[in-house]
């Protein structure tokens, strides 16, 4: 197979640095065929899915990019100029589509959780403030569909340490707990099960003991289950399913991995992140986690990643801002709004960092981001009202050619569920319908699809 030595980025630089060039095709089609480029064994690179979430919304009125006159835009160049909040997307602008004007549909309003449940699971929140929606979140749907053959069906992290409202669950009362410690993530993904990138694992005879113990556990779960009422029987049935899956997962984690050119150990994260100026080191923590996640995707340890930068209601203090983010988000003075724009800008910058990491990983003639879809969103639009209208939605990646990155898709009150529908379809986790009640849709948002 002929190997190209130029990365897309250097080609682009060369083209744009020289004379005016007219390119007939978007860059993606030029270098990546629609199926993604084949692996050595003839299989296509897998499609990946990710969610990148932050709490407390944005300033939606000042969020949307400015569209350029299409006649003045060079082919292959973005047709929009980022707003200040979106400014740090600039280096990855060709890889990110900004969707504006979409609404999250929910008839039940419970600030700071209704948006998350109604968009990310498609089911408006139930009446109890404690309960979590009954449908799995989009990352859990994707993990079931495209993650079930990976050593880790999904990897979930939370950058701000400590608790907070959940963002991922598999169904009613079944919340997925993220990892916050970068070193712990690094250790479990790159060392557990004797894993070594591109090499057979170091074998531990104790694995056999662990496997036989697990299979006995499954039997005891079944024995207890038969004595319980329906509600508790369901709970134990779920537990038993996870134990049976874990038996398979442990085997898979201990198999010799496929050889992947871009796969290597990530940088070893720091073990300690002391506060600086009474602030959590969010950027350092996020970047350490993001590097591990990116490499976990490159090594095909997982195909689904989930990052919670901050939870809804977080009182994190961002650089340059005295107030806690949630406290600030409830203020609408000009000063407060300016600070909130700075906060969004900082948050979007971290999302862009993750996209850059994914774009820097080469997969054949494509980059990892070309085979991925990464949703960036929050739990509300305007924090001050806990609004769900004109919701902030970013989508990075081309999902193997199914999505068109680099656009500004301006909608007029589109149902946000359509975005979720399109994303699942694009990564090969397609559903026939998404969402319940007013969030229900049976089709995607065509403007974001190829």
């Amino acid at each position: 197979m002929a190997k190209r030595t130029l990365t897309r980025r250097t080609v682009l630089k060369g083209l744009l640095g020289g004379a005016t060039v007219t390119l007939g095709l978007p860059m993606f089609d030029l270098f990546c065929n629609d199926n993604g480029t084949a692996l050595a064994d003839g299989q296509a690179f897998p499609k990946r899915f990710g969610v990148w979430f932050w709490g407390n919304g944005v300033i939606p009125d000042r969020w949307a990019p400015t569209d350029l006159d299409p006649r003045t835009v060079l082919p292959g160049e973005p047709a929009w100029v980022p707003s200040r909040q979106l400014e740090l997307l600039t280096p990855v602008q060709r890889d990110v589509t900004v969707i504006t004007g979409a609404n999250i549909m929910s008839n039940v309003r419970e600030p700071h959780i209704d948006g998350t449940t109604s968009f990310l699971s498609g089911v408006p929140l139930g009446s109890s403030r404690d309960a979590v929606s009954s449908a799995p979140t989009i990352d859990a749907v994707a993990a079931n569909a495209i993650g079930s053959t990976s050593p880790f069906p999904a990897l979930r992290v939370k950058v701000e340490p400590g608790g907070g409202r959940p963002v991922s669950w598999n169904g009613l009362d079944q919340v997925n707990t993220p990892v916050s410690d970068p070193y712990e993530l690094y250790r479990s993904v790159f060392f557990d099960g004797g894993y070594r990138p591109n090499q057979p694992p170091t074998i531990d005879p104790r694995w056999q003991l662990q496997e036989s113990a697990l299979s006995a556990v499954g039997d005891e779960l079944a024995a207890l289950r038969s004595q319980l009422g329906a509600h508790d029987r369901h709970r134990l049935a779920e537990h038993e399913t996870h134990v049976r899956e874990l038996e398979l997962l442990l085997l898979r984690r201990r198999e010799a991995p496929a050889v992947l050119e871009a796969c290597d150990y990530p940088d070893e994260p720091s073990r300690d992140y002391p506060t600086v100026d009474s602030r959590v080191q969010m950027q350092e923590r996020h970047r350490a986690l993001a590097r591990v996640l990116a490499m976990a995707l490159a090594c095909d340890r997982t195909r689904v990643v989930h990052t919670v930068f901050t939870a809804e209601g977080s009182e994190i203090r961002f650089p340059g801002i005295a107030d806690g983010h949630h406290n600030l988000s409830h203020k609408v003075s000009a000063d407060a709004q300016a600070l909130l724009v700075d906060a969004s800008r900082y948050i979007v910058g971290e999302y862009a960092f993750f996209v850059e990491q994914l774009a820097s990983i080469q997969e054949g003639d494509c980059r990892l981001i070309d085979n991925m879809a990464l949703l960036g969103t929050s739990g509300c639009s305007l924090g001050a009202t806990h609004g769900l209208e004109n919701h902030p939605i970013l989508v990075a990646g081309a999902a193997g050619g199914r999505l068109v990155p680099g656009r500004h898709v301006r909608t007029v009150g589109a149902n946000a569920s359509k975005v979720a529908f399109s994303l699942l379809r694009a990564v090969g986790a397609g559903v026939s319908a998404y969402g319940a009640a007013e969030a229900h849709v049976v089709d995607g948002l065509s403007e974001m699809e190829a």
């Binding site: 309003r109 600030p111 404690d130 400590g162 608790g163 959940p166 598999n170 009613l172 009362d173 919340v175 997925n176 707990t177 005879p205 104790r206 056999q208 003991l209 662990q210 036989s212 113990a213 697990l214 006995a216 556990v217 005891e220 779960l221 207890l224 004595q227 319980l228 009422g229 329906a230 509600h231 508790d232 029987r233 709970r235 134990l236 049935a237 537990h239 399913t241 996870h242 134990v243 874990l246 100026d277 009474s278 959590v280 009182e315 203090r317 961002f318 650089p319 340059g320 005295a322 107030d323 406290n327 409830h330 203020k331 609408v332 003075s333 000063d335 001050a384 009202t385 806990h386 609004g387």
Partner: protein, 587 residues
Amino acid sequence: MTSVSRTPFLALGLGVLALAGCTTTGMIGEAPADRQEPDPLPPPPPFVAAPAQLNLLTPAQYRNAVRDIFGGDVTVGQPAPVDQREAGFFMVRTSTIVLAPDGANRYQEEASRIAAQLMAPGPIRERVMPCTPTGVVDDGCASQFLSRYGRLLYRRTLTEAELQRHLRLAREGARLPGIEDFYGGLEAAIMAQLQSPFFLYRHEIGEPLDGTSDTLVVNGAELASRLSFFLWNTTPDEALLDVAESGGLDTAEGLEREVRRMIEDERARAGIANFFSEMLELEKDGGVKDSVVFLHANAELAGDARRETLMTIEDHVFDQDADYRDLFTTRRTFVNRRLAALYAVPAPVIGDGFALYTHPDDSPRRGILGQASFLAPHASPTDASPTRRGAFVRAVLLCQEIPPPPANVETDLAGRSAELPLREQLSEHRDNPVCASCHALMDPIGFGFQHFDGIGQYRRVERQFLFDDQGNVARDEDTGDRLVAREHEIDASGELDGVAFESASELAEAIRNHPALPSCLVRSMYRYATSHADLPSEEAQLRELQRAFITGGYRIKELLVSVALSEGFRHANGLRGDDSGSDEERN
């Protein structure tokens, strides 16, 4: 039934009053009994026990159990978390939580690590092994170990089938190539026991009370578990299991004797600490406080403050056996050097430890609401928050639910100039009727705490600092002093359901005397003890317990006894709630 509503005190605030819509008139027992005779509550429906339950161990219970059974030198990492509170308690959440895949993974990893520690050559193995194996396979020795520790882990004697299953694991494991070791084989069986649902869940099957009703009696070993996790927050010890399995808990006298023994045991102090820790949300630390706004803020503050409150409670409940309500007005507390500096009181002479300190009678600081464990978390990173503090008093101490703000209401305070005192900024909450209906229930309480800043230090004036463009407090270039934007005198007056107060000290009295305070504690204790959200069919039981608590002089130790002896604690409904007889598994 004896009359319930004869005492006006009782009728007030007995139920969990959901303040839906937050109409401020006539919703809550806003006037003390001697000022207004409230309508008596309608009699509750006859008592029916809650369905039998399945409670996942909390991470602390898992850790405590493993260390109590195998020894305090065994390291336990992070078992599956309990994700959130339900009805105010993690303990209640354990009855509904569904284990997620990451939870199963954590249990597997923990089991593997613990088994490896137990069976590695060394002092732990020497201590826990009841025998010396005669070879790679020694069923007799393995059986001694597995039946003994299996009984402690499962909180009941293993069935023969279970023991044989675990023995087979040990035997086959010992013979595996690469293992070929008795202790290695035993590891497999220990891992299985540690991941068994019989260890990880408190499960109740029960026995029929009689042939005519659906009522079940929580049986001996199951009741031992209920008692132990309620009173000790850990697993039953061998002595308690012996009593339970020999029928010692089957009579009222036997049960009471055992309950009183357990309450006098050291472990009850940790157990009741856990109850208050959950109820008062002591795990919350309020995030990272600005250490320039608050010069006494430090990384140890949250831990110190939690310890102060738990020591105060332990002293109050166990050593003083005092009236619960006085916990809100007591002058007694325990401080270390850092807290003494925060409170500007003399430091204890003994090094880094905590020592008893009694605040003077004219101090504004009284009771557990005068402590940093309450004042700091219910505040923002840079300031106090009357709304959050007031909401805590309503929801946690008086069991009155406050609905979330309505949709699409700008919860903005900054329409009011930031130059005004916080009380004036918050006036939006009073003047806008949409906000006022609920905020009237919170803010006027919270104002009473305004003399305490965002980490709980006393302040005479409300001071707002200037911030630079890094978001940090600006300093004078020459002197290095913090630059103050403005200062306001503090007005700490307010009212709590018709009782006016001028200061935190008077507010403490008002909370102490609020009729909903004791009944709310009883409800909370019952929820925690039975580990489920109380049902309407349990209201009659709750009223009985509330009456006993009040007539008994508000003593918490006696409340523990009466809860443990109550039908609600000892019985379960055999219909198991939603059990329709059909298998609804979604597998």
